[in-house]
């Protein structure tokens, strides 16, 4: 349970740190760290406007999305503690539960019958299809390296022996950070600040949502960020005791948030047609990580 609580805690300040970093990088003071959460609380109190074209799917989808991310969070371990849900092969369920949430959001976007949401939905479907293999091959390399197949057993038995395993760990972290950026629709694949319809992916899918639903969806995206941050922190924590691992977790989340802010401030978004290659390169890099793992294990010789 502790992992679940820590991730919820991290989600409160994550986006605030990102926004603050971006503001400081542009030379402004920036809003407080808890401002995004205050925005969500404000949204949760509002009424909603629904479109005539939408149906029950539009109302269920934000709830289904939130619950899919909550289920996924329950599977993430923290150091020596398994998640609430932990069994062999749970990362497969992790990926597919998240895919369920995406499915619901995509069809709720198509439900509005607007071309904006349709555009976002089609791109989101394609990009999430391209990024899935990277995650699976990465987990496959870890399963190969440690000999186990669940999140908890992989991370608790992950130890870095030789130089090359450090490099693989660093590379895996890098790939994971990029996967997190893509799944949360941040730069350089999607710019959350742009509200030009031709350039949006995720933001445009929720254009018609309002009030409580919009609050849920935004909070879910912060939760997703914190969740990926928690997985990345697991690379570093290993089996350290609580009084080291919890501060380290918070440090990693802060670091991740600052890194996201820095990347967003200094990189421009890619041309939309260039995105598929960029996303697929993660799969190729994870294949190289797989072969690196084979190399370390000596199965390649």
């Amino acid at each position: 349970m502790i992992s679940f609580l820590l991730i919820i805690l991290a989600s409160f300040f994550f986006m605030g740190v990102v926004v603050r970093t971006k503001s400081i990088a542009s030379g402004r003071r920036g809003p407080g760290i808890f401002q995004p959460m205050k925005d969500i609380l404000r949204l949760l109190k509002k009424g909603s406007v629904y479109s005539k074209t939408t149906s029950l799917i539009f109302k269920i989808a934000p709830v289904a999305y939130l619950s899919s991310v909550l289920m996924a969070i329950l599977m993430v371990p923290h150091g020596n503690n398994p998640g609430f849900i932990s069994f062999d092969g749970d990362f497969v369920m992790f990926a597919y539960v998240l895919a369920f949430g995406k499915f619901m959001i995509i069809i709720s976007a198509l439900d509005t019958g607007s071309s904006f949401e349709g555009m976002g939905a089609s791109r989101e479907a394609l990009y999430s299809m391209l990024v899935e293999p990277a995650f699976f091959i990465l987990m496959g390399s870890f399963a190969l390296y440690t000999g186990h197949t669940s999140f908890f057993t992989i991370f608790s038995t992950l130890h870095y022996g030789s130089y090359i395993s450090y490099m693989l760990g660093a590379l895996a972290t890098f790939v994971f950070v990029l996967i997190a950026m893509i799944e949360n629709s941040r730069m350089p694949v999607d710019d959350p600040k742009t509200h030009l319809e031709l350039t949006m992916i995720h933001e445009v899918m929720v254009l018609d949502n309002s009030g409580f639903d919009l609050g849920l969806i935004q909070y879910t995206s912060y939760l997703k960020f914190a969740m990926y941050g928690a997985i990345i922190s697991n690379f570093f924590i290993g089996v350290l005791p609580f009084w080291i691992s919890i501060p380290m977790f918070l440090v990693v989340q802060f670091g991740f948030a600052i890194a996201v802010g820095v990347i967003e401030s200094f990189m421009a978004r890619f041309r939309m047609g260039h995105n598929p290659q960029f996303i697929f390169i993660l799969t190729s890099v994870s294949m190289l990580i797989f072969f690196g793992a084979l190399l370390v294990l000596g199965k390649f010789m």
Binding site: Y163, I164, M167, L171, H274, P276, Q277, F278, F280, I281, T283, S284, V285, M287, L288, F291, G292, L295, F300, M301
Partner: protein, 209 residues
């Protein structure tokens, strides 16, 4: 440690397949030069110091500094447009380069010779084939030269694999570098660029008899 550098070299190949500006190619070549510099230092431990210093100097000067600078000068002087024009879409290029790397790995795993250092072989083979692929799939003549330089980096890696036993091979690899510079000088003096608006290489077809 050397494996890390070689894997980084393989990653630069992937990045090269999706790059769409000529300057990106040049920056990747510079980065590859640095990787090879480090690789030379770590691998050639049995070569006498003077020869080693010479090789390392040559690597860093030619691969990372001189050639890329010269090529960017040519690009500016011949007013070559800055986008690489491929025949196939970038996504397909990425798939093909990935398949090349995977095939190189499968090929090297089926060779059962104990003397062969697998990582070197895989990276060298994939670099060479990627360089060949770059030559085949891009329209501009300048990318032919870039592809040739990539092939040559691959040959260099292969020569490093046996460099401890046969240091002369590494020196021969350096000769290839000098040959490449002659090629580039040729382009420089003939002002081949994309002054002609039609695809450049296709006009070379007119040379057949």
């Amino acid at each position: 440690m050397i494996d890390i550098l070689l894997i980084a070299l393989a990653m630069t190949l992937l990045y090269m397949s999706i790059a769409n500006r000529l300057h990106t190619y040049l920056r990747i070549l510079v980065f590859q030069g640095f990787i090879l510099f480090g690789a030379t230092y770590l691998t050639l431990t049995n070569v006498n110091t003077v020869n080693l210093l010479l090789i390392m100097l040559e690597t860093i000067v030619f691969k990372s500094i001189a050639v890329p600078w010269f090529m960017s000068y040519i690009i500016k002087r011949n007013k070559i447009s800055r986008a690489a024009e491929p025949y196939l879409p970038y996504f397909v290029s990425l798939l093909i380069v990935t398949i090349i790397i995977v095939l190189a790995i499968i090929l090297s795993s089926s060779i059962k010779d104990a003397n062969l250092d697998k990582t070197y072989f895989v990276v060298a083979l994939s670099t060479m084939f990627t360089g060949l692929y770059l030559i085949v799939s891009r329209k501009k003549i300048i990318t032919h030269v870039i592809g040739y330089l990539v092939i040559e980096n691959g040959v260099f890696v292969l020569s490093l694999a046996v460099g401890n036993e046969m240091p002369m091979l590494v020196n021969l690899g350096i000769m290839l570098d000098i040959f490449a510079s002659v090629l580039i000088l040729g382009i420089f003096f003939n002002k081949i660029g994309d002054v002609i608006k039609n695809p450049d290489v296709d006009l070379l077809n007119n040379l057949r008899d």
